[in-house]
């Protein structure tokens, strides 16, 4: 009986070993998984993506909002892979904080826009500085005034497909063109826009270089106008940068000495919020549609210059354009009147004044000597 049972016992022992081994493995896996889930409870961004995509990778997944708008709930894995967030481990729950599991809590948004305007608030969790700047922008003020279509973070940067905004640089301007199509059409044929779009030029300004990035201000104010020459000067007064394109970097300094520049400087220093008509760069060169001065269509091409002057000086005759020397150094060939006036006041006039002063000093000296002599006698 005992002998008969022996092989069974051996059998039991073997099973016991295998069983206990499996048990240990199972326990280990259990503990390990327990620990992992505890980590995901403490940190918002973890592997929620795979879980969510369990449903949201379905291209047909959609829902209907109370106002009848149909929203696709499909999230493409390719799109997530190309975005900046997902590969960095910032996943669904980082932004969709209220959704923890399935079934999701009831959605209270009436419209798609309302939903976007609610979810974009999550951006400030990480991007607080940019978010705050955006709140002090023309766009935020438009929203406050009731225009809910005014752009929020996700309108420019995307939502699930956020990429680096200026790769390539032309992406910035094409983003703005989504709403500002008309201005973009002017810009893309300008000297700046053309170089950006056709050559991916690293120096020409994109929209945000002049208008700012997140705290974009109203460019129609007196203050923007009065400081706009400084904006142009941030590139056009840069010797190194201008030399690259065969342009002179004196334009800004010489403008400041011209009638327009001097007149404007008074207002700039004292009353920057008072609208003043003295010409700034853009009045003559154009704003978004700036062309090379050699371009026959340029507003400051010699053939078109008079018409440009006549915008402000309607009665000006053909000689009038000769009065503009604001961008050129004084030169005997180009500006003879100015040149010889300058020579007169830099040589003859000071000479006469110095001679007069020396003569008067001699008179004073002679009078003092005379007095001392008389007092000694």
């Amino acid at each position: 009986m005992f002998n008969r049972l022996l092989p069974n016992l051996r059998c039991i022992r073997a099973f016991g070993l295998i069983g206990s081994g499996l048990f240990v493995i199972a326990i280990t896996i259990f503990i390990l998984t327990q620990q992992t889930s505890r980590v995901s409870a403490d940190y918002t961004f973890q592997e929620t993506e795979a879980y969510c995509l369990g449903c949201h990778s379905n291209p047909d997944l959609k829902m209907t909002l109370p106002n009848g708008e149909e929203i696709s709930l499909f999230i493409s894995t390719d799109m997530l892979a190309e975005s900046v967030h997902s590969p960095a481990g910032i996943e669904c729950e980082a932004c969709h904080t209220e959704i923890k599991t399935y079934p999701h809590p009831e959605i209270e948004f009436q419209t798609r826009r309302e939903m976007s305007r609610s979810y974009y608030l999550a951006c400030q969790k990480c991007h607080s500085a940019n978010y705050k700047n955006a709140q002090d922008s023309m766009h935020a003020r438009a929203a406050e005034a009731g225009n809910l279509d005014a752009p929020i973070c996700t309108d420019c940067h995307g939502a699930h497909d956020v990429t680096i905004p200026d790769k390539p640089r032309s992406h910035v301007s094409s983003t703005c063109s989504t709403c500002h199509q008309e201005i973009y059409n002017e810009y893309k044929v300008s000297i700046h826009g053309g170089a950006l779009i056709q050559e991916d030029n690293p120096d020409v300004p994109v929209c945000t270089d002049c208008h700012g990035v997140h705290n974009i201000q109203d460019p129609r104010t007196a203050q923007f106008r009065i400081s706009s020459p400084d904006l142009c000067a941030s590139c056009h007064a840069n010797q190194e940068l201008m030399a690259k394109y065969g342009l002179t970097a004196d334009v800004y300094n010489l403008y400041n000495l011209s009638w327009h520049g001097v007149d404007l400087s008074v207002y700039k220093a004292r009353w920057p919020n008072t609208w003043h008509y003295s010409a700034v760069c853009t009045d003559c060169h154009g704003v978004h549609d700036i062309l090379s001065t050699q371009d026959p269509n340029s507003s400051v091409n010699p053939d078109n210059l008079l018409a440009t002057c006549q915008k402000c000086h309607p009665d000006a005759g053909p000689n009038w354009t000769g009065a503009w020397v604001g961008h050129n150094r004084i030169d005997p060939q180009r500006t003879p009147f100015l040149y010889y006036t300058e020579v007169f006041y830099s040589s003859f006039s000071p000479f006469v004044l110095w001679m007069s002063l020396i003569y008067v000093i001699l008179q004073i000296f002679h009078a003092i000597v005379g007095r001392i002599r008389r007092s000694l006698q």
């Binding site: 011209s258 009638w259 400087s265 008074v266 207002y267 220093a269 004292r270 009353w271 008072t274 003043h276 000086h313 009665d315 000006a316 005759g317 000689n319 009038w320 354009t321 000769g322 009065a323 503009w324 020397v325 500006t335 003879p336 009147f337 100015l338 010889y340 006036t341 300058e342 007169f344 006041y345 006039s349 006469v352 004044l353 007069s356 002063l357 003569y359 008067v360 001699l362 008179q363 004073i364 000296f365 002679h366 009078a367 000597v369």
Partner: protein, 246 residues
Amino acid sequence: MTVQKDSLTSKPETVYVERYFPRFTLGQRWEHGILILSVFILLITGLPQKYPDTLWGQWIISSPERLNQIQQIHHVFALLLFALAVYHFGRIFVQIIRKQLPGGMLPEWQDVRDAWQMIKFLLFLTRNKPNFGKYNFEQKFTYWMIFFGVGIMILSGLILWFPIQVTKIFPGGVIPAAFLAHSNEAIALAVFIVIWHFFHVHLQRLNLSIFTGRINEDDLRKYHENEFERLRALNSQDSNTGGGNP
């Protein structure tokens, strides 16, 4: 030509007779007064526009409206100065036609010789001070500097005031040249008046003859000896023909 200020008293040895000689006509005195007024107002309304960054400039140009007012005042007094210049030229023109131009202000070679002599005197190279006529070379220099200075200011000012009309006839280049000239000449003229004219009429000696219109005998003798001699000769001629006092 002489004026007796005090009436003779009974004791001849204590009589003090201060004799005055007429130097400027009433018209000339008025001209000078208007010149002072207009140049002063033009400077205080013009300089803040040239130096808007300075504290005093900002004090005068306190608001855009004030800037506008100041430009209008500048134009009004520019017209006054212009009218004065027209009057001055008109008078000279009439005097030339009538062959009555006094000519005392016209520059002569004698002025260059006087200036050279004066410089040698001031450098202690000679003890002889030159004798001057009615207007010495310093005074002539003052007149001609202001003559051309005001001329440049009026001309360039008018160009800046009516640039569109000016460029219908003249090349556009005159506009920035006028801007530069107006700005520089104003300073040059102001500096000249302060260092040269103010020194000679206020510091060196207080010479108020342009306001009173007359000069006393001592000053005439001391500073314009040739003129004094000329007048004395003239006077003795007069007395020979039976007029005036000895």
